[in-house]
Symmetry: C2
Subunit: 193 residues, 2 copies
Amino acid sequence: MMTVSKSPHEREGARTMEFSIARTVQILQRTPGVLRAMISGADSCWVDEPYGPGTWSAREVVAHLVFAERTDWLPRARWILREGDRTPLPAFDRAGHRDLLRHSAGELLDLFEHERAAGLAELQALGLTTADLERRGTHPALGTVTLANLLSTWAVHDLNHVAQVAKAMAWQYRAQVGPWEAYLSILSPPNPR
Amino acid sequence: MMTVSKSPHEREGARTMEFSIARTVQILQRTPGVLRAMISGADSCWVDEPYGPGTWSAREVVAHLVFAERTDWLPRARWILREGDRTPLPAFDRAGHRDLLRHSAGELLDLFEHERAAGLAELQALGLTTADLERRGTHPALGTVTLANLLSTWAVHDLNHVAQVAKAMAWQYRAQVGPWEAYLSILSPPNPR
């Protein structure tokens, strides 16, 4: 008999929220303001420094989010609606935001706010049905995904990067907290890729 | 010869920011607005659910921050200025915010904003000198700390909990992201305590 490995939430038996576009939009519409509240007007020493070799600064995270807005989420949603799972989704370029790094943090926050507002307007205009949300695509590495998976990931990806901005900022003070470093998990070294 | 173990930032040889009250305040004054942008008006399913057994919801994190504002940061700063390292700092009660959980997320955000503004006004009124910042106290578990360590920790503790709020919210959608869970480190199970 084959043992099926369970994901963490199945092991816990915890409740889990159902997908809805409205709930997803609640997260997506917040993120530009969250990042603005964290970064806007803060000194360069908080915003422009990474948290170790090969990691991103808070500013670079915003550049990545702008690039993802332009090339990942709605382009992939349109792809799934048009192609289904016949053709794999185009790969996402994790380094594709390089050209955006010429912008200041303030400019990137403005760009992100603009792109996100346009993306949410387009999402609404798509008028997705329940059947649309179950449509399948093929991720180039992960295999079969649904449109609902993609839209959920859009929101969780935002939260992932909000946490990363907090880490990049916290890291700049890691030498200053002294013995309290032991209690601050955000100061743990980043995992090697 | 004894080998002295180095902290992560020493191993990396990375630059590290010097302490200043102004830089610390840049973080501290942002946090109420950051949490408001993340939480205010969001559905209960995002705000009131923990991310596993024994963990906190976003709302409970704000309750903890209110309690810490009242009993941890400035009370300990005053203790160091008055007692130095003769008497250990009073222990902080990690469960001390229980009574605050009767409040809604919106009420807790208001309380936190109020307490933080009062705390920053008092910090300014203390008129701390460079010599004051080097004054030492005794942490009940961690040993000798300085006033600058305490104030730095106040800011990094904020960022730690901003990241935790992002994780608690992200967790509610962990079943919805499907195969993308593999790419979203924020969905990794919390470390057991």
